[in-house]
Every structure is written in structure tokens, then in C-alpha cells.
């Protein structure tokens, strides 16, 4: 059963946040390590490393807590069934009232 948020929004935003921050964090930390090993005058590589690792940590936490794409279609299907149920219930209610 997908989590509550995916059931209502179909696509979990935390998944994208997690993925994007993990990629950016890795890139930043990697760049920092590169410049630490190959120092260039005026480039403070430690900022890239610390901030990159921080972003990576945020990214991993969000990714881990997110609803994964494999559940999104289930959520869509559940929502579709709910919509049909609601519509049928509406028709039934109208018919009952008329009757």
C-alpha cells in the first residue's frame, strides 16, 4: 500500500528532492576532493566537501523516506478506483432521491 502522500499526489516530491540533492551532493563533494588532491590557488575545496556531504545526507534521508516510483502507479490505480466508486455512488444517490 503506498504511503498517504503518494495516494493523494501520485508522485512523491521527496523522491525528486532526495535524488537531486544526492546527485548534487556527490558532485560537490567529488569536486572538493578533486581540488583537495590537485590544489589550485584561490580555491577552497573544503567548502565543497562539507557542503556537498551535507547536501548528500539531506538527499539520502529524503530519498529513503520517499515513496518510490514503483508505488506511484498503484496510487494512481487506487485513486482511479476511488473516482469510479465516487461517481457510481453519486449516480446511485441521485437515482435513490428520484425514486
Amino acid at each position: 500500500m503506498p504511503k498517504k502522500q503518494s495516494k493523494t499526489t501520485f508522485v512523491d516530491l521527496k523522491f525528486f528532492l532526495g535524488l537531486m540533492f544526492s546527485i548534487y551532493g556527490t558532485l560537490l563533494a567529488g569536486t572538493g576532493i578533486y581540488y583537495a588532491l590537485n590544489p589550485v590557488l584561490g580555491v577552497d575545496s573544503s567548502i565543497d566537501i562539507y557542503w556537498g556531504l551535507f547536501m548528500l545526507a539531506i538527499g539520502i534521508v529524503n530519498y529513503y523516506k520517499s515513496d518510490k516510483p514503483s508505488n506511484w502507479n498503484k496510487a494512481l490505480a487506487i485513486s482511479g478506483i476511488e473516482r469510479i466508486e465516487k461517481r457510481l455512488k453519486g449516480i446511485l444517490d441521485e437515482a435513490t432521491e428520484e425514486f
Binding site: 499526489t9 508522485v11 546527485i23
Partner: protein, 536 residues
Amino acid sequence: MGVFQLTIVDYLIIAIYFVFVIFIGFLLRKRVQTSKDFFLAGRSNPSWIAGLAFISANMGALELLGMCAGAYEYGFIQVQFYWLGAVPAILFLALFMMPLYYGTKVHSVPAYLKLRYNEATRGLNAVIFAGMTLLLSGISMYALALIFNILIGWSIYQSIILSALIIGVYVSLGGLTSSIYNEILQFFLIWFGLLLLPILGLSEVGGWSGLTSRIPEAFSHIWANTATASQNPMGVDWLGLVLGLGFVLSFGYWCTDFLVIQRTLSAKDVEAAQKAPLIGGAIKLVLPLIAIIPGLLAITLIPGLGEGGQSYNLALPLLIKRYFPPGLIGIGLTALMAGFMSGMSGNITAFSTVWTDDIYKTYVNQKASDKHLVWMGRVSVIVACIISVGTAFIAMSFPSIMDYMQALFSLINAPLFATILLGMFWKRTTPWGGFFGLITGIITGIVLFALVPVSYFGTIMAANIWRAWWTWTTCFLVTLAVSMVTKPKPEEELKGVVYGLIEKGEIQKKLPWYSRPITWALIIVACLIIVNIIFF
């Protein structure tokens, strides 16, 4: 050649961002099936998503660059655009106006005007608002191109077309949902891209006390030098600030501009719709950290801006250049780009909704099916992007885009606030009172803009503030006068549309005290008072 020399990692970071925003649009395409999905994101968002989108739609890079530049030019008093000029209006919107906007289940602000007043008022507002969003979207597009031309040497024309293309693709595919999702990604990118600036800057200058000791005394207070206009660098006294900025311009924008209200209408229920602006208001309290403090830091760290052709707008980019190594420069630039794109996509989605729902469906094709409306929404996004390319070139011809924006708000939003305020809170306001008040307010603004020179008011900012005040007052008085001599709507038709005619418990559930919007609002008010005292 631009200010920055980008490395391959910086380009990679920018490219990844583009891939993400377009990918989200494609992913949402098949999930957006009805007009409610496309224009209101299915009314399914929790308060935090609607709240972050609410504030992100306003947090364009114009805002970031402009506020930072303003802090450099005028000092810490610039923070009033956030604290006095946003937070009280946002709280008013959340507590008093959202139950009506959301409870009436309208798609847009013009649709509310139809419910409250008449078709003529809705039509007038819809057409004017649609035009304004296209002008504003062009401004954001031009500003983005300008900054990328200055920073990394890209051609202005290529930048305008590239940004129009990307926004056109992701908004036309996923509608408001796509726009909101991207706005939230952009929100976090902006914070992660810029938060290091005040941290590194303040540690270099010796903290807040070190900073205030290095800048002129008048630059470090927000109220202490406002007894007369000449005492502070902004040239506006406390009365002008409170009436013009704190009341008319601020309430006119936050309480009536469909660009921001559309985000709150995407909330899943009325509580979430009320909490969304409150979350936005809380963020506005801390936003000066990344938008104002860097401007103050730049006064001492990058002296000489505003002289010899060096624009104040360069304060933020030059700080990025000063502190950020390769990689982080890419993140910082992506944050700026994200800011522009969130502002632009906000205008495009608002235009698309008003065009499709309030103009096309009402006046052109009244029998349009839901599927056809979604198609029209997608087409209107593409058309809006193309028109915005044109309005971007109009924006290029103005010396100051920030003044151009404020002038538009003083002409359009200020009178609209009077119309909506009276409509929501005085049941005697009549349909024709609303219509004639609105049109007279707008005409007054145009006459003042065309005939009264800026020199009469002193500065451009003072002209915008006082023009907004007069357009609001005219609209308010004319609406009152016409309402006294014309027939109001019967009370039955106003149930749920006017504040006094909502039945208690009709749209709001009983919530525990800590979860009630009023509790959240009081906490924000307390914080607002505290920061005003600290930085008085």
C-alpha cells in the same frame, strides 16, 4: 565574457537541473487528466507543499537580486518589504480571506469576483490580470537573460528563448502540479545555493556586531530613522511605509494576486489552504537571511557598486564569486536560475487558468468539455511563453524593471484590493459598486502615472507607493458611493461568499488549539514583533 568562469562541473549542475524540471513535467503528464488536475493540482496538496509553492512563486530571482541590491543601496530598512510589506498581509489572507476563496471552490480570483459581484467585474479583472501576468512573465524572462548575459556571457536572445522553451515544456505537460513541484525544488535549491553566503560573510566580518560597525549607522536600523523621509536612505517616512507599503501595496499583492493565491487553492482542504500562507509568512520572517544580509555584507566586502556603471544588482553574484569555489558556483547560479523560473512559471500558470476558465470558457466556448479545457490550458501555456518573449523585449526598454513592476502593482493590484476587501467584508457592496469602483481606481492610476511627474513625489519608489494609495482610496470611495445608490445582491446569493455570512463550522472542522491557524498566526506575530524590536 561574463563575471564567472564556469568549470565543467558547474555546467553539469545546471544541465542536471534542466533535466529534472523537464522530467517532472513528462512524468506528471499522464497523471494530469482533468481541468481540476491541470489548473488546481487536483486540490490535493498538503499545507507544506502549497505553502512552499505559495512563497516560491513570489521568490523569483528578481526578488533575490532586487532585495540584495536594495539592501546595498538603502540598508537594513529594505527588510520592510518582507516584515512590514508581506507578513501582516499574509496573515490577513490566511485567517480571513482563505476560508472565502477556498470555501467558494472557485478556480481563480476573477471567478470569485463573478460570485461576489457580476460578470462585468470578473471580465474586467480577468482581462487586466491576464495582460499583467504576461508583462510580468516577460520581465522575469528578460531579467534571467540579462543576468546570464552578465554572469556567464550567454546571449540575451538565446537565454530568453531557452528559458521560454523549458518553462513551456514543463508547465504545458504537468500544469499547476508540475509548476508547484518545480517551485518546491527551486525553493530548496535557492536556500542551499545561497545560505552559505551569510554564514561565510558574517564569519569574515565578525558577526552581526562586526557588520553593523562597518556600515553607516542609518543602514543598520529599520524604524529608528523613519521619523522624516530625509533621515533614511530610502527617502520614505514611517507613515508612507505603513500606508503605502504595509497596507495598500502589500495587501493588494498578497491578498488579491492570483499568482500566489492559486498555490493555496491547490491545498487539499480549507485548513491546509489557511496554513499554506502561514507557512509562507514564517518563511518571509527568515528570508532576509539570504536576501538582505548578503546585501549588507556586500556594502563592506564589495565597495563601489552603484558607481561607474557597476549595478547594485551585481551585489549577490559578486558575493557568490567571492566565496564559492567551482561546483558551488554551479549551485549558486542554478539557485538564481531556479528563482527566475519559479517566478515565470507562476505567472504562466496563473495566466493559463484565467485565460481558460475566465475568458475562453466564459466568452468563447461555453460548451467546452473538460478534456478540451485541459487542451486549451496546455495551448495557452505555449502561447503565453511566446508572448512573454515579446514582453521581455518591452521590459528591455525600461530603465528599471523593479520600478516597472511596482508601477504595474500600483495600477492593478491596489484598486483590486479595495474591491475584494469591501466585497468580502461588507454585504451591502453592490455588483455595480464593485465594477465602477474597480474601473475608476485603475483609470485614476493610469492618469496619475501619465500626468503626474515622478519629481512631484520625490523618488520613483515614493511615486509608486503614493499612486497605490490614491488608486486604492479612489476605488474604495467610488465603490462605497455607487453601492449606496444601487441594488445589492440578495443575502441568499452571498452565503459563503461574504465573511459575515459563513455559517460557523460550515467549512472548518474543530481542530486542537495547537493546530488552529490562529495559534500559528499568533506565534508568527510574536516573532514579527520580536525581530522589529531587536532591529528597531
